[in-house]
């Protein structure tokens, strides 16, 4: 029943989200120029619809009584037919996930401070060290290519701007 608890929490979160969205939609100021439909109307409609759906979702999760008509197998088959993304059932490794999330946040934080090339190299190597350190030389070479070489390909060849960071003096 753990599955269901997650969904129950989710449904409440969605209701809260919808309610907050809807309330702030009501506070959208009207422009000086009168219009048929102000800037608030569309968000209010969307907010109402979300709130209703959120409530239906919660009702589906909280009502006791008879289980849904379709059996689990039928649901699975339909899901396959309509191409729904597969559900994740594997046990999640929270520690690795936390590490990856931390890595991403660090990456975002240092992206401009240290520049693309240095940050990417460091983040890549940190990832390699944590996840699999059996092929350090190979992975190190890959990290250099994907950070420094890619930096020059993008900035010089494709003319896409990337932060240089302390390496600014190397340019041109």
């Amino acid at each position: 029943m753990k599955e269901n608890r997650e969904e129950r929490i989710a449904s409440i979160v969605l209701i809260i989200f919808s309610a907050v969205y809807l309330t702030s939609a009501f506070f959208i100021p009207m422009p000086a120029l009168k219009q048929q439909l102000g800037p608030g109307a569309f968000p209010i409609t969307v907010g109402f619809a979300m709130l209703i759906l959120g409530c239906i979702y919660a009702w589906q999760q909280f009502r006791g009584g008879p289980p849904p008509k379709e059996t689990e197998e039928e649901i699975e088959k339909r899901a396959a037919i309509i191409g729904a993304e597969e559900k994740i059932e594997k046990k999640t490794d929270l520690k690795t996930m936390g590490f990856i999330l931390g890595l991403m946040l660090l990456y975002a934080f240092f992206f401009e401070i240290l520049g693309y090339a240095i940050t990417t190299f460091l983040i890549f190597m940190m990832g390699v060290f944590y996840l699999d350190r059996r092929h350090l030389v190979r992975d190190g070479v890959i990290a250099v290519i994907s950070s420094f070489v890619l930096y020059y390909i993008f900035t010089l060849l494709l003319r896409v701007q990337l932060p240089a960071g302390p390496l600014k003096f190397l340019e041109y």
Binding site: E6, A10, L14, A25, I28, P31, Q35, Q36, L37, P39, F42, P43, V46, G47, A49, M50, L53, G54, Y57, Q60, E74, I75, R78, A80, I81, I82, G83, A84, E86, K87, I88, K91, T92, D93, T96, M97, I100, L101, M104, L105, Y107, A108, F111, Y116, T120, I123, F124, V128, L131, D132, D139, S146, L150, F154, L158, R159, V160, Q161, L162, P163
Partner: protein, 508 residues
């Protein structure tokens, strides 16, 4: 006669645009990268197209869309390879291909399975492109007469039809669509100049960049989902034994299923507006019912590979009709392409179709060329693509992270966008865990602004009366379609029929 002359001048115009050395090169790069993405496990066409959009920023619109279409087509091709050799579909539309493709590979007929998939895809893709050339101008001509109310209703219908097919639970899928619409309302309202949901943050004035959400929800989410296997997972794959060439017997069985798959796929993708995954399942059901060798299906019958693979490519081509002629995406991947076109400053739809023929016909011509390139790229080189499966998963995930950051940063040169993207990555993971589909969110974001604009324009025309949506016949029809899609178990019945045809075959 007039029609033919028009057609011919359009075609020559198109090839004139597409056959320049630079555009041919871009087309090749596109199908190459697309195949790469399709083959790599865990990166579907949606993630792939989203990740590669930044490559197009430096290009002119013509060049950008040629590159993008190449990626789109390539990714559709590439997915079948992993289905056949590893029994892991690279994307949802190749799920059925696993059933017979992998069985064929186990019997040492991997070569023939790959050949059947590639040739079937080629024929279907060419057919869909041809249909787009023949009927595109006609559809665009009709849509040209649409006023704001019709467009609003068309968008409502498009959103609901796609949403009703997008997940296990209608409530969740609808909520996802609305979530997308809600995100689209962020930023300065471009009709009144009033800021909405900006939280006094200057960077949010232009609204939330769609690529930030798309890459977060698809690419980073993929990283989180795969984290469980990150440590030392190895893919087991079958080797290609024997020749790639199909025997006379294979060819005899190939044609009928290819034609059935192509027609079914085109109908599902081009007319009903449903995506490639639905098409492949409908086709498999069709084979189960009408093939001469139906008892062999599921045990390595060539029909089980040809049909679905033809169908998903025909549908992919067909849904481009919706995108180019109406401006309404019929699938998650085309929604991402629409978003990319909007970023370049193009608004696909009937106006674009009529006013910028060089753009539209250049794209169509390059789809032909790309299809031919894919055939060459895929068959002889399949051994090389398969080697990609040996890339360790942790490196792949690090690459995805890197490309996501690179791509999102280049949109606005904003670090805040990077943090938002990570946030959406976490949201995407939670959604996946809760089985809420992510594609409708993208659809909502991409269509939200335009939908609101059309709604307000309509109400200005009607002086505030909502009746305008119902009193116009085309608009009424489209809204009824939306109602049918949501309330009636109409689609479910089709699903039910398919399910019955599908019989006891294991799903996914």
């Amino acid at each position: 006669m007039d029609f033919l002359a028009n057609f011919w001048s359009n075609v020559t115009l198109g090839f004139g645009v597409a056959v320049t050395p630079f555009h041919l090169l871009l087309c090749f790069v596109g199908v190459f990268l697309g195949t790469l993405i399709g083959v790599l496990p865990g990166i579907g066409p949606m993630t792939g197209v989203a990740l590669l959009i930044p490559l197009t920023f430096g290009l002119k619109p013509n060049a950008a869309i040629i590159l993008m279409a190449g990626i789109y087509y390539g990714a559709m091709y590439g997915g079948s390879t992993t289905s056949i050799l590893v029994n892991t579909p690279g994307e949802s539309s190749s799920v059925v291909t696993c059933l017979d493709g992998y069985e064929m590979a186990k019997k040492g007929r991997a070569g023939q399975a790959l050949a059947a998939a590639a040739i079937g895809s080629f024929i279907a893709g060419t057919f869909a492109t041809l249909m787009l050339m023949l009927f595109g101008p006609w559809v665009a001509g009709i849509a040209l007469n649409f006023g704001p109310p019709e467009f609003f209703s068309l968008m409502v219908a498009g959103l609901t039809v796609v949403t009703s097919l997008a997940g296990r639970s209608l409530v969740k899928a609808l909520f996802a669509t609305l979530f997308g619409l809600a995100i689209a309302t962020m930023g300065i309202d471009n009709q009144s100049g009033v800021p909405r949901f900006v939280f006094n943050n200057p960077e949010l004035m232009d609204g939330l960049e769609f690529l930030v959400v798309a890459i977060g929800l698809f690419a980073l989410c993929e990283v989180f989902v795969n984290v469980a296997d990150l440590k030392g997972a190895v893919m087991e794959r079958l080797n290609i034994k024997g020749s790639l060439w199909m025997s006379r017997e294979d060819w005899k069985r190939f044609w009928p299923s290819c034609i059935r798959g192509t027609l079914a796929g085109f109908f599902v993708g081009g007319i009903a507006g449903a995506g490639a995954a639905v098409a492949s399942f409908v086709s498999y059901g069709l084979e189960k019912k009408s093939s001469k060798h139906r008892d062999e299906l599921g045990h390595g019958a060539i029909e089980g590979v040809t049909g679905p693979e033809s169908a998903n490519n025909a549908a992919a081509g067909g849904s481009l009709i919706h995108l180019l002629c109406l401006g309404i995406p019929g699938s998650g991947t085309t929604a991402i392409m629409l978003g990319a076109l909007l970023m370049i400053g193009l608004q696909p739809g009937p106006l674009l179709f009529i006013q910028q023929p060089d753009f539209v016909w250049g794209l169509i011509a390059s789809m032909y060329i790309g299809n031919a390139m894919l055939l060459v790229l895929n068959l002889p080189l399949v051994g090389m693509w398969v080697k990609l499966l040996d890339i360790p998963l942790y490196l792949l995930m690090l690459f995805i992270i890197m490309f996501s950051f690179l791509g999102v940063y280049t949109v606005n040169n904003s670090v805040q966008d990077l943090f938002l993207m990570v946030g959406f990555g976490v949201i995407g993971y939670l959604m996946k865990r809760l089985d809420i589909p992510a594609a409708p969110v993208i659809l909502g974001i991409v269509l939200g602004k335009l939908m609101e604009e059309k709604m307000r324009q309509s109400l200005v025309i009607s002086d505030g009366s909502m009746m305008i949506f119902i009193s116009r016949p085309i608009s009424l029809f489209l809204l009824l379609l939306a109602v049918v899609a949501i309330t009636n178990p109409y689609w479910k019945q089709i699903g039910h029929g398919v399910r019955r045809l599908f019989g006891g075959a294991p799903a996914a």
